[in-house]
């Protein structure tokens, strides 16, 4: 009855079930603690379009944008939130494609970074091999160059009305993942002709080849 085996198994099973129960409570708490996406105060403007090209090798039009983005992500964070993946997406409709969605820019904000000073944050970014765009969860980015070109599936970007949205994906410490889209969007009608890069830093060898 009181052999080492039964003791070990009792302790083992009891602690696993307690731990499991706690994890479930933690996971469920996300439902209550996650605020609606409208809690964030977001300013997002498409600052400029700096080039619109035909990328023949990849078979599509490409556009490069600059943005102004301002928001404070701190209200999103609660005890069951490990990191948020914040991303700017472009959405548009073409004759052939009902839905086109492209991520133009993204960044990761980890919970532990929220208390970092600017210097600590930089060090943390080097460790993770990625740039840190925020200070204590606040994104204040003016004239931000998109990381990725908006590349169409075909040559339909001229005269195209593109809508930009700020989205984020919540990764918990344990539990369910959430996707949220901020209700405020901004849009831009692209010009009717192709334009060469307006800024020197946006020329690339690829533009010349194409």
């Amino acid at each position: 009855m009181f052999s080492w085996k039964s003791r070990a198994s009792t302790i083992g099973s009891y602690s696993t079930s307690v731990l499991g129960g706690l994890v479930i409570v933690l996971a469920l708490s996300s439902y209550i603690l996650t605020p609606p996406s409208s809690i964030l105060d977001v300013t997002l403007t498409a600052n400029s379009l700096v080039k619109l090209h035909q990328y023949r090798r990849v078979g599509g039009d490409g556009a490069l944008f600059y943005f102004d983005l301002k928001t404070d992500l701190k209200p999103l964070f609660h005890w069951n939130l490990k990191m948020v993946y914040v991303y700017l997406s472009a959405e548009y409709k073409t004759q052939r494609n009902e839905i086109n969605q492209v991520v133009l820019w993204d960044t990761i904000v980890e919970r532990e970074e929220l208390n970092h000073t600017r210097k600590e944050a930089k060090k943390h970014g080097q460790l993770r091999r990625r740039p840190i765009y925020h200070t204590k969860g606040v994104l204040d980015l003016e004239d931000l160059k998109c990381k990725y070109i908006l590349l169409d599936d075909g040559f339909n970007l001229r005269n195209q009305n593109v809508t930009f949205k700020l989205n984020w994906n919540i990764v918990p410490n344990a539990g369910l993942m959430f996707d949220q889209i901020h209700p405020k969007t901004t849009s831009m009608v692209l010009p009717s002709t192709y334009i060469k890069a307006r800024r020197d830093q946006d020329y690339s060898a690829e533009d010349e080849i194409n």
Partner: protein
């Protein structure tokens, strides 16, 4: 030595009944797994992260719960895809999505920790867009560390055999009370 005595002291009937209960455990585990497959619409609804390409979201040894669902794909979703001829499924984030008027889906993925998308280097040579049939699941739940057990068992098969053996013996010899 206790366990050996326990086995030796058993009569045939007792041994048979314990074997049945062991088989019962194995069978119910299988049933639960297959049920999960059906409910989630994923062939393997629970996967273990093997690489660091999604750091810091997912680390090696974390467990992911997959669920296919009916809702349409969105950029930012984390999907699991498997290419023909490749054994290991890959967990990456959707960064580009085109759905044409007939409902055909074209996708492009990227690991959070990678510098460029998967088209150059990860996809097979003949894959330009990822399509619906490559997707085997969408990540909906996350549990850290627990998958380390499977990784250790895969890296050191002896550990696996030892654990299975010990569990089998314990089930066989456990007396009903």
């Amino acid at each position: 030595m206790d366990t050996f005595n326990a086995i030796r002291g058993m009569n045939k009937r007792e041994f048979a009944s314990q074997t049945v209960s062991l088989l019962y455990v194995v069978a119910s585990a299988l049933v639960i797994w297959k049920m999960l497959s059906v409910v989630t619409d994923c062939e393997s609804p629970i996967v273990v992260v093997l690489t660091g390409s999604m750091e810091p979201a997912f680390w090696r040894g974390d467990i992911l719960f997959l669920y296919m669902g009916k809702e349409p794909f969105q950029v930012g979703d984390i999907v699991v895809y498997k290419q023909p001829g490749k054994e290991i499924p890959i967990v990456h984030r959707l960064t580009t999505l085109h759905v044409d008027n007939k409902g055909r889906v074209k996708m492009l993925t990227k690991g959070d920790n990678n510098h460029s998308n998967d088209r150059y280097g990860i996809y097979n040579q003949d894959i330009w867009w990822l399509e619906r049939e490559h997707i085997i699941g969408r990540v909906k739940g996350y549990l850290p560390y627990v998958g380390m057990v499977t990784i250790i068992m895969n890296d050191y098969p002896m550990v696996k055999f030892a654990v299975i053996g010990i569990l089998a013996i314990m089930t066989l010899t456990s007396k009903e009370q």
